[in-house]
Each structure stands twice: as C-alpha cells, then as structure tokens.
Point group: D2
Chain length 137, copies 4
Amino acid sequence: MADVTRTGVSIEPGLLEKFDRFIAKRGYKNRSEALRDLIRESLITEDIEQNRPVAATLSMIYDHHRHDLSNKLNQIQHHSHENVLAATHVHLDHDNCLEVVILKGRSGDVKQLADHMLSMRGVKHGKLVITSTGRGL
Amino acid sequence: MADVTRTGVSIEPGLLEKFDRFIAKRGYKNRSEALRDLIRESLITEDIEQNRPVAATLSMIYDHHRHDLSNKLNQIQHHSHENVLAATHVHLDHDNCLEVVILKGRSGDVKQLADHMLSMRGVKHGKLVITSTGRGL
Amino acid sequence: MADVTRTGVSIEPGLLEKFDRFIAKRGYKNRSEALRDLIRESLITEDIEQNRPVAATLSMIYDHHRHDLSNKLNQIQHHSHENVLAATHVHLDHDNCLEVVILKGRSGDVKQLADHMLSMRGVKHGKLVITSTGRGL
Amino acid sequence: MADVTRTGVSIEPGLLEKFDRFIAKRGYKNRSEALRDLIRESLITEDIEQNRPVAATLSMIYDHHRHDLSNKLNQIQHHSHENVLAATHVHLDHDNCLEVVILKGRSGDVKQLADHMLSMRGVKHGKLVITSTGRGL
C-alpha cells in the first residue's frame, strides 16, 4: 500500500466505540483495515450482480463410493477448463469427500457450471462462494 | 447528529473511487453516511448472534381462503403479545394476502415465534428480517 | 388445497429421520408441508433473479428527531405510489422508529426504491425482504 | 444408495410443475435428488447454529507483494493445524492470489479461525462457507 489517500468520516462517538469493540473481537489491528474490508465487501456484491469477471470457490461434499461420480465431476471440470483453475480433494472420513474447485470467469458462467456439478446425484451438499479477482480492490 | 467525531481512514485511491461510484448509484449523498451504514450493518449481525434485544419484521404470504388460518395466526400473536408490536395485512389478489408482523425481543425468542407461524399449513412463504432496536446506533 | 397430487420421493432412511426431527422442532405438523415450503423458497429465489413481479417488505430504523426525515420518506413513497401498498410505523423508544413499507412490483424496481430510502441520512439501518406475490405457489 | 425409503408428498399440481421446470434448468435429472438436496441444505443450517462438527472452506484474496502476509497466514494455519486440513493457492494475476483453506471442527472454532485470517492487513476479501462433514446426510 505505497499509495494511500486519507479521507475523513463523521461518526457519532457511541457508534464508533461500539464498532471499535466489535472489530477488536474480530481481530482487526486498526479501524482503516476494517472499513476497507466493509467497502470491498459491498463492491463485490456489485460485481456479481453485473456479471463481471469473478473468482469463485465451489465446495462439494460427496460419497466417493458413489459409482463413477468423481469421474464425472472430473470430466465436467475438464470440459470447462477455461473456467476451472484448480481442485483440491480432502478425505473427510471413510465415505465422505470434500472437493473444492476454484473457478474464474463471468459470474453467470461460474454459477451455471456450479449448478451443473451440484445437481449431480451423489453430491450431498455444496456451496458456491463468489469473490473478486482482486483487481482494483 | 449534534455530536459527531471525525475520524480518518487510509484507503487506496482506486478503491475509494470505485466506492464513490457505487454509493452514488445507490443514492447516497456523501461518503460518511454510506460508511456509517456499513458499520451499523456489521454491528447488527453481532446483536443477532448474541441473542440481544432486536426489532424484527416477519413477512408472510398466505391464502386467506385457507380455513381458519388468519384466526390461528391472530391467536398466536395475541399469545405472544409482549413480543408482537403490530401487524399489517395487505390483500395482494383474490386469494393471496401478505401479512407483516412487527416483533421486538431477544433474537432467540423472536426467531422461535416466527418459526411457529411460518410452519403453519397454508403459509406459503415467509421471511424474518432482524434489525436493531436503534439504541446506540 | 382441494386439489393435490401425490408424488413419491426416494430418500435414505437416516436422512429422513434427521429431517423429521428438524421439522418437528420448527413446529411443522407434517412432512409434506415442510417440503412444500422448501420448494416454494427455491422458486422465489428464481423470481427475484428474473425480475418478475414480487411483493416485498422494507424495514427501516430511524431517529424521528432527525429534521424532516419522515416527511421525505413519505414524499418518496407517494412519488412511487404504484409500488407502495402500505406503511406501518412503530415507536420503539423515545428516539427510534421502525417503519415498515410494503412494496409490490418487478424485483428491480422494488430494489431501486428501497435503495433510495435506505441511503437517506438518518436512516440507521434497513433491510429489504423480497417474497412472492403468492401466485402459482 | 443401496438402502432407500420411499415417502409420499402431497403437493398442488401447479406448484409441482413450476418446481419441475426450475430443477430441469438447474440440471437435475430427477425430483427426488432435488428434494434431497433441499432437505440436506436445511439440516446443515441446523448444524451450524448448534456448534456441531462441520467442514468449511475459507476463500481469501490477497496481494502477495504484501510484506510477509503469506508467511503469517501460514503460521496461523500451522498453529491451528488440528482444524486445517489443506490449503490451495492460485495466482490470479501479477498481484493477486486466491488462497483456499479447508477447515474442519466445531462451527464456532472454525468461524473464529476464519475471522482471525480475514482481519489481517492485506487480505482484501474473504468468505467462509460452512458445509457438512457428510455424516448422516
């Protein structure tokens, strides 16, 4: 952060005190960092709504005994290789795996690809998290 | 706001520009107001998790032809009158009503009362929104 | 519900048991009602994304001492009277009001109108809940 | 799924039709799979609220030029090694990385560990997704 501006915010003293206690509990070292995080969070909502380029993480729980499922998930990911950056696989217990797929692309494409995998039989649960590509944040 | 403090925030110029465009689109007149809203929003999440006193709004869609439903909803609300402040009823079309119930109390109690009404047969859809009592915000 | 179909669902016995315990806690009298609610919830998400007609509830906390705010909120609502069905006002304490505005229209219009009111100085917190018009649910 | 029960659901024909169109668009091959997914989703919300064991994925965007940040994130993860299963690192562009950390443990512990990393200076954005360990789903 070689290059920062300093801007002033008017705020009621009671509200500021409550916020300082809140961010200390969350582990923030200073107020500016916490405020920048709130700002970035609000901007990402906008990126998603506007179908802009995003990075995303799809987490899926499935039973690896399910015939051919990991194979099919693999094929889908290869087919959309331009949107799939990486996949990590974790063995949670004897039956269950957690597979985490990192995606990049327009928010609409990323959602569609995630829906495709989540709707497969044997995928017990999954969640897509859309975040930013980091550009301009 | 007779009484305000002025605090400084360090922020990358590019991020600040993006935020200014974003809040202008949302209708904000100035940056401080937008930042205060982000701060208040983060504090309310905390109130809910900690089972503190909150205000809340329960919106329910139901078919008023459904035998005795509005009667039962009414009884439940009277039974919990210490948590129910008001109810507004709107006729959406020939069949469907929207009933909005304003609630106050600990977040846990408010959630339980909402679950009770939402689980009733004939309530097609509903959502509970928890906000603040406004104190200290 | 004069007219219902009966459809079968295949489900692992352990999962069904867990679900039955869960819905009992939520107050559901039977499984069909709980499943219909899950189905309706998923359909409403679709209505919102597709800019279809929706009903919505905007809950706002504000300080009524704030000069002219309730007046301005009133004017905005009159200006958009085709989207505003009703408003309920509750006095939470000496300073704070909760105003709940019931809206109807395309999800995009409803969001914009809500943003306009939420961005006003003096509105401490607010939340928009979008639900269905009830048609076809 | 060697072992399944068949249960009946009563549902209005119009609602069922809408649901069938909805799930076809999402890519589901059959109604049972879609309903099981809705059921699992509702159960996971319960696991999180009750501080039960969960699996989770933390996605963070940060600038790897930021002095020592990846080092500090690494230390935090090692310190909580009993909750950290794996981490994947992706280079989004010249400046920005996406790091995805897979976590396991009680939902409260997992949230606290995520807050700790998200509050660090240089972490631009992040999101925690809590899912299930897959047991009993």
